[in-house]
């Protein structure tokens, strides 16, 4: 597993590819992050984060706050480190042996990389939805019930039933599957599977949900449903979403962070980033000059 994930994440960086225009041709100095990377009611604070895959530095000195109950979109060209950054937030990178994280990441002012921090507990607080829908090869019910079961969140079957129903309802899937809760989750359509994965994540009642291109494998209708869902979920959760679609970022997020070559170039209100970007690289990216 480790190697597969590592290749998927690190390959573009190792190849040093960054689209049609290279660093040199742009002749740009990265310098400080432009915009407002910090905010007052921060749920997660990251300070000077560096991530290495063996000797390759995938992320350079990123400082970014993620506000409570906001949806923040991470955008940028392939291999810019946005997925790597996302995975540091719930320590999914721990599963990759050669991955090393430096800097400070605070969740509610607690260092999540502290020796005493249990990654299992952290992942119960910071849930994750992946690019490709990955339901367990079990029934729909068992998919959603798995998290609550392993964490012992419910005391009896009735409570568990309620929690499963509530989670599926919040994910907008309950009406579609209520007659076949015990059918296999892998039998659903792609969009339904992804909403099942979201239901599975929210059943654990995390505080933050990380979404790694949750709609990139879905058709436009299923994508619209996921985006609608994200809008509803922000009432209760803090959401960090990595996306390749700038329209999607514009539609669902309040703030947008633009990554380039492992650096955080610009952070700002979504409206401002898309209408009036301050940094040259951001402007080139959103106007489609590369990416």
């Amino acid at each position: 597993m480790n190697e597969a994930v590592m290749n998927e994440l690190a390959e573009p960086i190792m190849k040093k590819s960054s689209g049609p225009e290279t660093e040199e041709s742009l002749n740009i100095e990265y310098g400080e992050t432009v915009g407002q990377p910090f905010c007052e009611q921060a749920k997660i604070k990251t300070k000077n984060v560096n991530v290495f895959y063996a000797d390759n530095q995938a992320i350079h000195d990123i400082s970014l706050d993620i506000g409570s109950h906001e949806v923040i979109a991470l955008i940028g060209p392939s291999g810019c480190g946005k997925s790597t950054y996302l995975r540091t937030l719930n320590r999914m990178n721990d599963t990759i042996d050669i991955c090393r994280v430096e800097g400070q990441i605070l969740l509610d002012d607690e260092d999540i990389y502290h020796k005493k921090q249990d990654p299992v507990l952290l992942r119960a607080r910071v849930g994750m939805v992946f690019q490709k829908p990955n339901p367990f090869p079990k029934s729909i019910y068992d998919n959603v019930a798995y998290g609550p079961r392993i964490h012992g969140l419910t005391r009896n079957k009735a409570e568990l039933d309620d929690l499963v129903e509530a989670s599926l309802t919040k994910a907008g899937l309950f009406d579609e599957v209520k007659d076949r809760l015990h059918a296999p989750g892998t039998g659903l359509s792609g969009g339904q599977q992804q909403r099942l994965c979201i239901a599975r994540t929210i059943a654990v009642q995390p505080e933050v949900i990380l979404m790694d291109e949750p709609a990139s494998a879905l058709d436009p209708i299923a994508t619209a449903k996921i985006e609608e869902l994200i809008n509803e979920l922000k009432e209760n959760f803090t959401i960090v979403i990595v996306t390749h679609s700038m329209q999607q970022a514009a539609r669902v997020s309040q703030r947008t962070a633009y990554f380039h070559m492992g650096r955080l170039i610009e952070v700002g209100d979504t409206d401002q980033i898309f209408t009036n970007p301050a940094h040259e690289l951001t402007e080139k990216y959103i106007t489609g000059r590369f990416g």
Binding site: T95, D97, V120, A124, M128, F130
Partner: protein
Amino acid sequence: MNNTDLVKKSLQKRYLKERIFKTMGFVSIATAILFLLILLTDIIGKALPAFSQTNIELQVELSEEQLGINANSSEDDIRNADYRKVIREALLGLFPDVTKRKEKRELYSLTSMGAEFQLRDTVIENPEFLGTTQTINFLADDDVAGVVKGNIDRNLPESDRRVKNQKLGWIETLEANGQINTTFNWQFFSSGDSREPEMAGIKGAILGSFFTLLVTLALSFPIAVAAAIYLEEFAPKNRFIDFIEININNLAAVPSIVFGLLGLAVFINFFSMPRSAPVVGGIVLSLMTLPTIIIASRSAIKAVPPSLREAALGLGASKMQTVFHHVLPAALPGILTGTIIGMAQALGETAPLLMIGMVAFIVDIPQSVVDPSTVLPIQVFLWADSPERGFLEKTSAAIMVLLFFLIAMNAIAIYLRKKFEKKW
């Protein structure tokens, strides 16, 4: 010439190459099937006579005076009575003109050595037969069976024939009287080995193989799966682990007789475990099977998509929960297939078991893993080594039984793989 013509020209050549390749593939498969058919036909053809049993029907007079017992005698007395004499009397009654000692001995050898025990058991089961005359089917000697089944050619000159003219005459008389019959050879499946081909059965070897495989499975499956899980999911990536991995692969290629020597030296000489016992055989075979199952399990675990692990980890499952709740169930079909193939390999293994004494001649049917016993492939080896003509068909029959178990195990492996296979 334009491009199209050039392509057309080269196409002919390409298609020709393809046809030649296809033909070669077809020919090689056909050859393989042909040899398989020849092998199976030969084995089955030779084995079939072993499944029929030749009997001689004799009227025996179970007089109380003759046997020296009556219905009230103790069981020991009934057991020890002289049944051989009764059978001999019956044979003499059929051919009263036999008087010379040597001829009498020949005559008595028409029935099997086991006939008297057969009669004894019949009397013990049916005490009311005492004092009456009964018609009973007695097991014929393997020479008689050979003549009846045609294994011994009646037209050969007497000097070249195993059964002499006088005996052949008796057999033909019995046949003419309708006193020789053949039945299905249940005894082959219900008795242990014997020096007499007509009495030898395979049950001892089947049970020996069963007990041996039981020990092998009980030891190698949990150890191998645990090792595979550790190496694949938990082990750090360092030189020591690499070294272990390489050696597991090497172990799979070690000649099996070396494991036998190891078993002899360690388990029997050092730990003083019983000789010829399935428990030692099972331990030795599990050493041999471990690498097979480990390698199969590792590749099955490796084939589980990483997204499944990520899903579980992302929900806050611990590493252990991830492995046991998700990875292992998904890898199970591959693990089971590897295990059954390893078991089938162990079932057919002979060499290491020779070293630990499972090649001994054992008549008793083993009752547990510590009783001396033999296994199917060694039974084949032992019978193939015996000079009596009657063991030839037994050898083929034992091969058939062995092949049956191998095919059955592989069929189970395929069934399990199909049943548990999950679509992602």
